[in-house]
């Protein structure tokens, strides 16, 4: 597990006075989306607010409902129930005006392949009514900022994933949106491209743009977001700053233990480890996988397979390795892997769902 990064967090937006309702640029109340033919709702009574100038992250595995939530807020998905407003305007009653306020960087490349990169930016601005002179000046500036100036007149056909992503972010900024929605902005990018996108997003945050991003990557959420909403199966399970979320976990360190066997003896092992001094809580970590129709029980064919446990520890984590190994030994299990870390957003997700994010 990776330690949580220490980072200097920006001060809260100065105007975030108590009860500053007009400070919320995105308001979502009891939002529900059901797709016809699917038993479970894709979004299930989700409520949150995004404040002006904030970076808001929706964290969760694929299929958690993040993209659908963003789809509703950007007017291309119709909500089944509940309320969603952007800039005070209801997405259901006045989608046209909401479209003028939002910009979207989708998961999949949707650049206009018949146009050059620069023209992609210029036409986008034209759709949004940006005057011609301003369009050209803005496009030049954004192309420069996103490192695209030398390829501005190329068509996007042969662009890499990272380049396309940069073009889509630049395009989205052409009409100075009130809120920029980014759906999995760095999924599938190589590490360098990912860092480049992160840097640009931090710059945008520092310049006061409100960002809403979805991600299944806890590092990304921790690195960029002021507040993180954790979603799973359409529900918003928790919502707070990354620090507060990780603080909410018991213990100050985590100790991961893996054995090659023993999935048939989980309760026994959990109880035994729980009695060790300094152990606040023990959880089993189940790798992310689609839930079987029967729910939790199935999956581990006849007790074979790796068992991964996470101990939330208040004291000295390394000192607990030997006693924990002894406990496992008494249960007839052999310790095969050990990891020590600081609780991260992934632990929050595990804590809330019992499953790993990836």
């Amino acid at each position: 597990m990776e330690p949580t990064r220490t980072r200097v967090r920006r001060h809260p937006v100065p105007s975030a006075a108590p009860g500053g309702a007009d400070d919320a640029v995105v308001e979502v109340v009891e939002l529900v989306k059901r797709y016809p033919g699917l038993p479970a709702p894709a979004v299930d009574r989700v409520s949150f607010e995004v404040r002006r100038g904030e970076v808001f992250g929706l964290l969760g595995p694929n299929g958690a409902g993040k993209t659908t939530t963003v789809g509703i807020l950007t007017t291309l998905v119709r909500p089944t129930a509940g309320m969603a407003r952007v800039g005070g305007i209801d997405v259901r009653t006045d989608p046209m005006r909401v479209r003028g306020l939002v910009a979207v960087v989708p998961q999949r490349n949707n650049l206009d392949r018949s146009l050059s990169i620069r023209q992609n930016l210029l036409f986008h601005a034209a759709y949004h009514g940006v005057p011609a002179a301003e369009r050209a000046e803005r496009a030049a500036r954004l192309l420069e900022q996103f490192g695209l100036a030398d390829r501005a007149d190329d068509k996007p056909d042969f662009f890499s994933g990272g380049q396309s992503q940069r073009v889509m972010i630049a395009r989205a900024l052409m009409h100075s949106p009130l809120v920029l929605f980014l759906d999995e902005p760095t999924t599938g990018l190589d590490p360098a491209a990912r860092l480049f996108v992160w840097d640009r997003l931090r710059e945008l945050r520092d310049s006061g743009v409100t960002l809403v991003l979805t991600t299944h990557d806890m590092d990304e959420a921790a690195a960029l977001a002021d507040r993180v909403g954790i979603m799973d199966h359409g529900r918003l399970l928790a919502l707070d700053t990354p620090e507060a979320l990780t603080r909410s976990l018991p213990g100050s360190r985590t100790l991961d233990l893996t054995t090659d066997d023993g999935t048939d003896r989980v309760p026994e092992v959990l109880d035994a480890l729980q009695t060790l001094p300094g152990v606040e809580r023990v959880e089993r970590v189940v790798p992310e996988s689609p839930r079987g129709p029967g729910g939790g029980a199935g999956g581990d064919g006849a007790g074979r397979g790796r068992l991964r446990l996470r101990l939330y520890v208040s004291g000295d984590a390394p000192a607990l390795v030997a006693p924990a190994a002894a406990v496992l030994d008494r249960c007839g299990l052999e310790l095969s892997e050990v990891g020590i870390g600081v609780p991260s957003l992934e632990d929050v997700f595990i804590h809330l769902t019992g499953r790993a994010l990836r």
């Binding site: 789809g71 046209m96 710059e203």
Partner: protein, 273 residues
């Protein structure tokens, strides 16, 4: 890398001037711009098929003595009809399937500050413009290939009306196909639709002459293109027996309305989840 220099978002989106009309014009301009940029590709795409049909049926067969000059005269309006309908379908359906299916290009336009229906209307207008351009180009091509074409100045108002309706009917068919057909089915559906459409549209024969072939006459009566072909014959070669012009116009208006309504519904379903 330069740092961000843009104005803070607090300056707010300055969008009060941007209405749906503005967005509509910009989206239409995008389509026209792409067409102008690839104008030769556009010409080749829309002209080759009618050019060859006209050349083989109107020129080769008549000079070989298998067909008469009179046939070439009744063929010309039929080829115009075929050009306007087929060009409109192609200008509509192919890009639509691609944009909804794999390029997702349409998303940026669906997110423009305009009602979703207006994006569909823009597509219809653009496809119709392309089809009308292609059809007008058939006039000089017809003169070049056939030596002369049937022409009646008094028939021009009817010709304009029928070409316009033919373009809209074609765009409507394209809208319906483009939004109903799944991308992986496009090849099969298009071959199943195009070939019958091409040959049951009274393009190569006047409809009343099918009186002795009743079953085929009934089939052709169900193809909207038939009314474009017959309407254009009424405009250009009225001495050849044809369906009354007013019937053609009324049927075409009905077809246009039905296809656009059904197509717009399909469009909305694809655009908004």
């Amino acid at each position: 890398m330069s740092r961000v220099t843009r104005a803070p978002a607090a300056a707010g989106p300055r969008l009060e001037g941007a209405g749906p009309a503005h967005a509509f014009v910009a989206v239409l301009w995008r389509d026209l711009y792409v067409t102008f940029k690839e104008f030769y590709a556009f010409l080749a795409q829309v002209i080759l098929q009618p050019l060859f049909l006209l050349f083989v049926f109107g020129k080769i067969l008549t000079s070989l003595g298998y067909a008469t000059h009179a046939y070439a005269q009744l063929l010309f309006p039929g080829i115009m009809a075929l050009t306007v309908v087929v060009t409109a379908i192609q200008a509509m359906a192919f890009p639509l399937v691609a944009e909804f299916g794999w390029t997702r290009e349409i998303e940026d336009r669906l997110l423009a500050p305009m009602p979703t229906g207006l994006v569909a209307v823009e597509k219809v207008v653009f496809a119709a413009l392309r089809a009308i351009t292609a059809t007008l180009l058939m006039i000089p091509i017809g003169i070049g290939v056939l030596g002369s074409i049937p022409w009646r100045w008094s028939g021009v108002p009817l010709l304009v009306a029928v070409v316009l309706l033919g373009a809209l009917v074609g765009a409507g068919i394209g809208l319906l196909l483009g939004t109903l057909v799944q991308p992986n089915r496009i090849n099969i559906v298009f071959s199943l639709v195009f070939t019958p459409l091409l040959f049951t549209g009274a393009s190569q024969y006047p409809w009343p002459s099918l009186a002795d072939l009743r079953w085929f006459q009934v089939i052709t009566a169900m193809n909207p293109m038939t009314y474009v072909s017959e309407g254009l014959r009424a405009a250009l070669v009225p001495r050849i027996p044809h369906i009354d012009a007013w019937i053609c116009v009324v049927v075409l208006i009905a077809w246009t309305a039905a296809l656009i309504v059904a197509g717009a519904r399909g469009f909305y379903r694809r655009a908004i989840a």
